[in-house]
């Protein structure tokens, strides 16, 4: 292969990789996931009350009760990074408690309407609780 072809092929390979990388960041964001799980075309942002926090591997989980227009309540299940990652950012298992008011933005699971991957969690004061140093 001559140099020009090699460069073009290299760029193509890297472009494909970057596309996959972007998809990885936008959707799963975690190594231990299938790409088919969450959909970056399904952004979600909900406001509600924490009903439960699960502090387990491979992912902490934040359950949020969200009031609907008809008065009903839907319980969302948001996947967070691993407790290890959160602890290394200074989080603890008690950082959020049932009853706390939060807003969670992220992406919805491809085939499950009330399961998502959390991207940013903000508290009642509008400040990001969870995104840590990356915000």
């Amino acid at each position: 292969m001559n140099t020009t072809k090699r460069v073009i092929k290299g760029r193509l390979v890297n472009a494909l990789t970057m596309a996959l990388l972007d998809l990885t960041l936008a959707t799963t964001a975690f190594a231990h996931h299938s790409q088919s799980e969450f959909d970056s075309n399904l952004p979600v942002k909900v406001q509600g009350t924490v009903s439960k926090v699960e502090w387990k591997s491979p992912h902490a989980r934040l359950y949020v009760d969200v009031k609907q227009d008809d008065g009903g309540i839907v319980n969302w299940n948001f996947e967070l990074p691993s407790p290890n990652t959160l602890m290394r950012r200074g989080w603890t298992r008690n950082a959020l408690q049932p009853g706390d008011e939060v807003t969670v933005s992220g992406y919805r699971a491809r085939n499950f309407p009330t399961i998502g991957i959390g991207k940013v969690v903000t508290g009642k004061d509008g400040k990001a609780i969870f995104a840590g140093s990356q915000e």
Partner: protein
């Protein structure tokens, strides 16, 4: 703890044995978690931070000591910061594509291309890592969890946070086995070339993935990792994979790992609460 020659004088093999025994004992027990405990023996700058440019520690016989907690020096977080997204901060970009830094990418055989087409067609849902299977070196270097190296004169142990896994690398001069039973990490021996530790590995299973996009590695692979520690803060890894079933020619990828100090390993037992597989359909 293991003491370094340039910090507290030479350490003895008995110290190593005791340190490793203590480490094993602690690993199996519930322990306090001190993520910011000031570890003795760390070279420090005036402000108390680790002196990453300090000389690499050496063992009593003058070899580089690779002991320490290591994570990928270049991570996906760099890209993620632009989005402000939540990601596993320590995941190497090479976890997405091990051939990312090679101009032509990895030299896949047709068999590999066919394998990867299947693996990606279903969104990577068959990735062993996505099903909480053990971390497998060399892939484990690029995962977001830490590798902790414990080095003794005859044996190097790599502890990995994901599933609290381990890998043994023999430094006692033994040869590679003739026909090892294939395993997740294979069978590893090592020898010194000046200050470089050369690890040879064979006996890897046929169904392993090297990255998220499904780059294969098979039981025909001979993996060579050349480890160097140019300073206190850096572990250099030069990885060569010679796998004629999966790749048309051997390829070499180089990457750096960065030291983590004043911290400790945190077990991440994936099957503890794995809930993602139900979402794959």
């Amino acid at each position: 703890m293991i003491r370094w020659k340039n910090e507290k004088g030479p350490f003895t093999s008995m110290n190593n044995v005791l340190s490793f025994a203590l480490l094993c004992a602690v690993s199996s027990a519930a322990w306090s978690q001190w993520l910011n405990y000031p570890t003795p023996g760390i070279p420090r700058t005036a402000d108390g931070g680790p002196d990453l440019a300090a000389p690499a520690p050496r063992t009593f016989d003058g070899k580089p000591d690779f002991s320490g907690m290591w994570f990928a020096a270049k991570t996906v977080s760099d890209a993620c910061k632009k989005e402000g997204c939540i990601t596993e901060e320590r995941m190497s970009r090479l976890q997405v594509n091990l051939g990312l830094t090679l101009p032509d990418g990895l030299p896949y055989t047709q068999w590999s291309k066919d394998q990867m087409k299947v693996r990606m067609a279903n969104g990577g849902r068959d990735d062993p890592h996505a099903h909480c299977m053990p971390p497998n070196y060399p892939r484990a270097w690029t995962l977001p969890q830490y590798t902790k190296i414990v080095q003794t004169p005859g044996l190097m142990v790599m502890l990995h946070e994901f599933n609290a896994a381990y890998r043994e690398v023999y430094l006692d001069g033994r040869p590679l086995p003739e026909d090892p039973n294939p395993t997740w990490n294979g069978y590893s021996t090592a020898h010194w070339e000046n200050d470089t530790l050369v690890i040879d590995t064979i006996g890897i299973r046929d169904d392993m993935w090297l990255d998220i996009q499904g780059s294969p590695i098979t039981s025909r692979a001979h993996v060579t990792e050349r480890l160097g520690r140019p300073n206190f803060g850096t572990l250099e890894v030069e990885l060569t994979v010679d796998d004629p079933k999966a790749y048309t020619k051997p390829f070499t990828v180089s990457f750096d790992m960065a030291i983590e100090v004043d911290s400790q390993m945190l077990d991440e037992i994936c099957l503890d609460d794995e809930q993602d597989a139900q979402l794959y359909e």
